[in-house]
Structures are given as C-alpha cells and as structure tokens.
C-alpha cells in the first residue's frame, strides 16, 4: 500500500537516552495518550529545527561580518548612504 502524502517514512532504530529524559518523555506520552515514539520524534524535530535556525543565524551573521569588516568609520558612513562632499564631487 502506498503511503499517503502526509505520512512520513519511518525507520526503526535503537538509541541510548539519558534515563531522566526517557522518564520525562514517558510521562508526556501517558499524559497526551500517545506513544513514546511520537513524543521522541516530535522532540527531535523541534530540536533539529532549532539547530537549523541557529545555523542559519550564524551563517547570516558571518556574511554580515564579512560585509562590514575592514572599513573605517567614514567608509561605513558611505556604505550607510551618507556621502561626503569629496565623494560627491568625484562622480
């Protein structure tokens, strides 16, 4: 049978987890009446999403650093759209 569009492909694996995390996940599973795999899977997805966001943020900050490093304060004014007379005259 074909999996529906919304059904994610799953794989079985064995993990070693900190005992307290496992207990917390089991408590959540019981409270929400869902299975442990779903709780772990959701937590992992959230963690991976946060990791990807942090990575993306770092990437943008690195690009900004390269974009604005090595310029004097006067040159930064020019990059911010403030042009001194001397520059205007040379155009």
């Amino acid at each position: 049978m074909k999996a529906s569009r919304h059904q994610k492909r799953t794989r079985r694996t064995t993990l070693t987890l900190p005992a307290d995390s496992l207990l917390a996940a089991q408590r959540i599973a019981r409270a929400r009446k869902i299975n442990l795999s779903t709780v772990i899977s959701e937590a992992l997805s959230d963690g991976l999403r946060a990791f990807a966001s942090a990575e993306r943020s770092e990437q943008v900050l690195r690009a900004y650093q390269k974009a604005f490093t090595g310029f004097s304060e006067q040159e930064m004014l020019i990059l911010d759209g403030v042009l001194p007379d001397s520059v205007s005259e040379r155009r």
């Binding site: 690009a63 390269k66 974009a67 990059l79 759209g81």
Partner: protein
C-alpha cells in the same frame, strides 16, 4: 528589551549595519535570536544606498583594495534577507510624506574631515521617506538609527491621518533600544 521573535521588522540602512557591527554582547545575542526566527527585511532603497556605497568606495580605492571591497559587497548580497520593492502603494505614501516634509529636519552630516553636501542630505532624506513609506505599507515596525528623521515622519503621519487612509501609525524602534 524587544522580543526578537515579535518581528519581522524592517531595518533602516544604518540600523542594519549598526546591528551587524555591534560588539555589545546583548545586541549580538538579540540579533542572533532575531535571525533564528526571522529574516532581515529591508527596503530596496537600502540596497541602492548600500551598493552605491560599495561602488563609490571601489571607484576611489587603490587597486590593491578593490578585491576586499568586492568580497565585502558579495558577502552582503549573498545573505540578503527580504527586500521590499518600491511598488505603487509605497510610492504613493512616499510622495505624500515628501509633500508634507519637503526638507530634511536635520542639517547635513558633519564629522571629522567629513561634510555632507546639502544636495546629498536632501537625497538621503528622500530615501528615508521611501523607507518609512515601505514600513507603513508593509505594516512593519521600522528599526532605525536616526531618531530625528524618522520621528519627524511619524509625527507628520499622525497629524495628517487623512493623507494615509487605513495606514499608520508608523511603528519605530531605535536600534540601540532593542537589546
């Protein structure tokens, strides 16, 4: 402190570079948290000002410095966020602001060996009007580093609401009060 996840915000040209260059750990961590949840939104006018800046620096730079400027320009463009174009709505609002405030509220910039001409000041003022119009039309709070100019625009919009139907108020946050 402004909650970074409450964005997205529109960033004025000098606010964008101020945040990117800040060495203050609070500012850096605020900007990092903002970037983890939102893109940097800028007006097309900011790209005009920035790219004109890189081009002017390159034109007057010695040969051995041109590469560094070009690498910086490419780095800036490589991770550019969301750019808001100057469309019909923004143009109408910018025109209204410029008519209410035809002249800049502050004099040309003067610093050590640096004097801005009156003509350039007027150009920069008009660019600011376009950036404010973009924030108003996109209904985003504008993060700025130029209180005198943008507060004047905010007040003008508030005192002439009939010129900006269904729009406003203009939300402003000074970049040094974010973190």
């Amino acid at each position: 402190m402004i909650d970074p996840s409450s964005g997205p915000f529109l960033f004025d040209t000098s606010a964008e570079s101020w945040l990117a260059r800040s060495k203050d750990s609070h500012v850096r961590s605020w900007f990092g948290a903002y970037l983890a949840t939102h893109r940097v939104h800028v007006s097309a006018v900011t790209i005009v000002e920035r790219i004109r800046g890189y081009a002017l620096l390159s034109l007057r730079a010695p040969e051995n410095r041109k590469d560094q400027i070009e690498r910086a320009r490419i780095a800036y463009l490589s991770e550019i966020g969301r750019v808001w174009s100057l469309d019909g709505g923004v143009s109408v609002v910018a025109g209204e602001i410029m008519a209410l405030l035809p002249l800049p509220p502050s004099p040309p910039r003067k610093a050590h060996q640096f004097i801005e001409s009156r003509q350039e000041r007027l150009v920069r003022w008009r660019f600011d009007c376009m950036i404010a119009a973009t924030a108003l039309v996109s209904r985003m709070t504008l993060v700025h580093n130029n209180a005198q100019d943008f507060e004047s625009i905010r007040k003008a919009i508030e005192t002439s609401p009939e010129r900006f139907p269904t729009l406003g108020p203009l939300g402003l946050i000074r970049c040094n009060s974010l973190a």
